[in-house]
C-alpha cells in the first residue's frame, strides 16, 4: 500500500496537526512501514479468527442508574483555558453554523 504525502496531509488535518511539507515527506514512508507490519498480521488472521478489540473476555459491565455528586464548578472551570459566564470560553468556531 503506497501512502502519499497527500494522504498524510489529510490525516494530519483531521487530527489538527500542523505539518510542514518536509515532515510529510518524512512521515509518509514511516506510516507505510506501520501499515505493512499490520498487513503481515492480517495474513495470519484467517476468517475463523475473530478480530480482537478488547483484551478482557468480558461483556455487559454496567452501573446502576444512580446520580453521584458532580465536581464543584470552580474545579471544573479551573481546567478551562478561559471561562466566562460560568462556561468554557473557546475561540470562535469557523466553518459551521450551529
Amino acid at each position: 500500500m503506497a501512502l502519499t504525502p497527500e494522504d498524510v496531509a489529510k490525516l494530519a488535518a483531521l487530527a489538527r496537526i500542523d505539518l510542514t511539507g518536509e515532515e510529510l515527506q518524512h512521515l509518509a514512508p514511516q506510516l507505510e512501514g506501520i501499515l505493512e507490519a499490520v498487513a503481515s498480521v492480517q495474513q495470519v488472521a484467517d476468517a475463523d479468527i475473530p478480530p480482537t478489540s478488547h483484551a478482557l473476555p468480558l461483556t455487559n459491565v454496567f452501573r446502576p442508574d444512580e446520580v453521584r455528586p458532580s465536581l464543584p464548578r470552580e474545579d471544573v472551570l479551573a481546567g478551562a483555558p478561559a471561562a466566562e459566564e460560568d462556561r468554557f470560553r473557546v475561540p470562535r468556531i469557523l466553518g459551521e453554523e450551529a
Binding site: 478489540s53 461483556t59 453521584r68 464548578r73 466566562e84 459566564e85 468554557f88 470562535r92 459551521e96
Partner: protein
C-alpha cells in the same frame, strides 16, 4: 439572500423526493450514559459534570444499565432485531461541544436494526422501514457571543456548558423513504409524531421537542422519477417542532428543485433550518464516515444482551399506539373521522384521562377537540399545555349534565379555569354563571317576551309550536344566556298552549 425556490406542486410534478430521517431521543434516565452526573434539564451551567463527561485524562466510562434497557425496549417497539453482541465506537472529530474530541457512539454494530413502523398519514397507513437504532452520548451546548443573532456567523467567541454532554441518546435512523410523493413532508411529520407517542408510551424520554429531548435531522434528495438512481441529498438540522419538520422538508424540496431545474447540482451538505424565515442555509460540507475514523471504544466492553433479558424487556412494552387507537375507537364509539381529528389535535391521552374521570367519551371529545383546541390554537400552545386538567373537564361536563350550566355558560367557565380562577364549580359560583330554572324569575321573563312579541305569541296559540324558539331566544337574551331553555319552553307552552 434567500435562494430561488420552485412552486411546490411544480417541484413535485417534476421530481420524486426520497427522505431519510434521523431522530435523536434523549433518554430520561436519572444519570448520564457513562457517569453518575445528573441529567436534570435547566441546571446552572457546568454544575453537572465530572472527569468522565469532561474527558479528563484517566477517567473511565461505565455504561448505564437503564439506558441499555431503554435502547432495547425502543428497538423492540420499532420491530427491530436486537443485536446479540455489539460494541461502542469512538467517533473522532474536533469540535468544542465534546471535550474529549470524540463522541462515544455505535458504528457498524447498532444495538437494534432492521425494524419498521406503520404511521398514520391522514387516515391512511404508511410503512416506514427502520435501518437502525443505536446508543450514543449527547454533546454540550454552545452559546455564540458577539454575533448579532446568537449564531456562529459573526461571533467573536463561543461559550460551552457541558451539563448535557454525556446524556444518553438514542439515534433512530430510517431506511430511504420512497413512494411518499407530494405527501413526503406530511409523512415525515406523521413519523416524528408517531415516534413521539411511542417513546412517551414507553416512558423512556420526555420527548419535548422544544427542550431538545427529541430532535430530527431531515435528509432529502430529488430524482427525476422513481426508477432513477438516488439524487444528492442534504441534511437539514435544527428542526425543533413537528410543524418545522414539515415546513423544512417542503422548503428544501422546492430549493433543490429550483437548482436542478436550472442545471446546478445539489451540494451534499448540512443545512440549518431557520424557523423565523422558513428557509435553510448551508452549513459545513458533510464529512464522510471515514473522516470520523471510527474505531471500537477500548474503554468499554461489548454489550451482549441475553435473549432472556430481551424477552423480559419485551414483556414490559406498552400497547402499540396504533392498536391502542383501534381499541379506543371501539370503546368510545367514535367514527374514523372523529378519531383522526382527536389524534391530529393531540387529544387522545387527554380524552382517555377525561373519560377515566367519569366523562362520557363524546362529551370529552367535544370539549377537547372543540372549544379547548380552539383556545390552544389562539394562544399557540399545545393542547396538553393548557392550564386545565382532564379531571376539570369531566367536572365541567357533570355541571352541564346536572343542568347547573348550559354549553354556552360552560365556555365561560372554561375561560375562568384557564385564567386560574379555580375549579369549574368555583368559577360558576364566583362568576354567577349558574342557569336560572326558578319559575318566578323565568316566568317574569317569559311574560315580558310574550308581551314584546304578540304576533309570535299568536302563532303559537294557533298551534305553530315551533315558533316558540323565537320566544325562547328572547328570554335567553334577557337573562344573558343563563335561563334553563327546557323549562322556558315548558312555561311558554303552558301559557299559550
Amino acid at each position: 439572500m434567500s435562494a430561488a425556490v420552485m412552486d411546490y406542486d411544480e417541484a413535485l410534478a417534476a421530481f420524486d423526493p426520497v427522505m431519510g430521517l434521523e431522530v435523536h431521543v434523549e433518554l430520561s434516565t436519572a444519570s448520564k450514559m457513562f457517569c453518575g452526573c445528573s441529567t436534570a434539564f435547566g441546571a446552572p451551567p457546568n454544575t453537572q459534570t465530572c472527569p468522565v463527561c469532561l474527558g479528563l485524562p484517566g477517567a473511565l466510562p461505565v455504561v448505564n444499565r437503564t439506558a441499555v434497557e431503554s435502547a432495547i425496549r425502543i428497538g423492540l417497539a420499532l420491530n427491530c432485531s436486537i443485536a446479540e453482541w455489539c460494541r461502542f465506537a469512538r467517533k473522532n472529530y474536533f469540535y468544542p461541544d465534546m471535550p474529549k474530541n470524540y463522541q462515544i457512539s455505535q458504528y457498524d454494530e447498532p444495538i437494534a436494526f432492521d425494524g419498521w413502523v406503520e404511521v398514520d398519514v391522514d387516515g391512511e397507513p404508511f410503512r416506514i422501514e427502520i435501518e437502525r437504532a443505536h446508543m450514543e452520548e449527547d454533546t454540550g451546548k454552545s452559546l455564540h457571543v458577539g454575533g448579532s443573532t446568537g449564531r456562529i456567523h459573526g461571533a467573536s467567541h463561543s461559550l460551552l456548558d457541558y451539563n448535557r454532554s454525556g446524556v444518553p441518546l438514542i439515534e433512530i435512523v430510517t431506511k430511504p423513504i420512497t413512494g411518499a410523493g407530494a405527501r413526503a413532508p406530511e409523512v415525515a411529520r406523521a413519523y416524528v409524531a408517531h415516534l413521539r407517542d411511542l417513546l412517551r408510551a414507553l416512558g423512556v424520554s420526555d420527548v419535548r421537542m422544544e427542550q431538545g429531548s427529541l430532535r430530527c435531522d431531515a435528509n432529502v434528495s430529488l430524482r427525476p422519477d422513481p426508477a432513477a438512481p438516488l439524487g444528492t441529498r442534504t441534511e437539514t438540522k435544527n428542526v425543533n417542532s413537528l410543524r418545522s419538520v414539515e415546513r423544512a422538508l417542503r422548503y428544501e424540496i422546492t430549493r433543490q428543485a429550483a437548482l436542478l431545474r436550472e442545471g446546478t447540482p445539489v451540494t451534499q451538505e448540512t443545512r440549518h433550518w431557520h424557523e423565523d424565515t422558513g428557509t435553510t442555509t448551508a452549513g459545513r460540507s458533510k464529512e464522510t464516515a471515514e473522516d470520523y475514523r471510527y474505531f471500537p471504544e477500548p474503554d468499554l466492553v461489548p454489550v451482549a444482551p441475553s435473549r432472556e433479558w430481551v424477552e423480559e424487556l419485551r414483556a414490559t412494552l406498552p400497547e402499540q399506539p396504533h392498536l391502542r387507537r383501534k381499541r379506543l375507537l371501539a370503546e368510545w364509539g367514535y367514527t374514523e373521522l372523529e378519531m383522526r381529528d382527536v389524534v391530529s389535535s393531540g387529544a387522545l391521552e387527554l380524552i382517555e384521562q377525561t373519560v377515566a374521570a367519569g366523562c362520557a367519551p363524546q362529551a370529552a371529545r367535544k370539549w377537547w377537540v372543540g372549544e379547548l383546541a380552539r383556545r390552544a390554537n389562539e394562544t399557540g400552545s399545545e393542547l396538553d399545555a393548557l392550564p386545565i386538567s382532564p379531571a376539570q373537564v369531566a367536572q365541567l361536563q357533570q355541571l352541564v349534565e346536572a343542568g347547573t350550566i348550559n354549553d354556552k355558560l360552560a365556555r365561560q367557565v372554561i375561560e375562568g379555569v384557564l385564567a386560574g380562577e379555580g375549579e369549574p364549580a368555583e368559577v360558576v359560583e364566583s362568576r354567577g354563571l349558574a342557569v336560572v330554572s326558578d319559575d318566578d324569575a323565568l316566568g317574569a321573563a317569559v311574560d315580558a317576551a310574550i308581551a314584546a312579541n304578540p304576533d309570535v305569541a299568536e302563532k303559537i296559540r294557533g298551534g305553530k309550536v315551533q315558533a316558540a324558539g323565537a320566544l325562547i331566544g328572547a328570554v335567553m337574551k334577557q337573562m344573558r344566556g343563563q335561563a334553563d331553555a327546557a323549562r322556558v319552553r315548558e312555561l311558554i307552552l303552558a301559557r299559550l298552549g
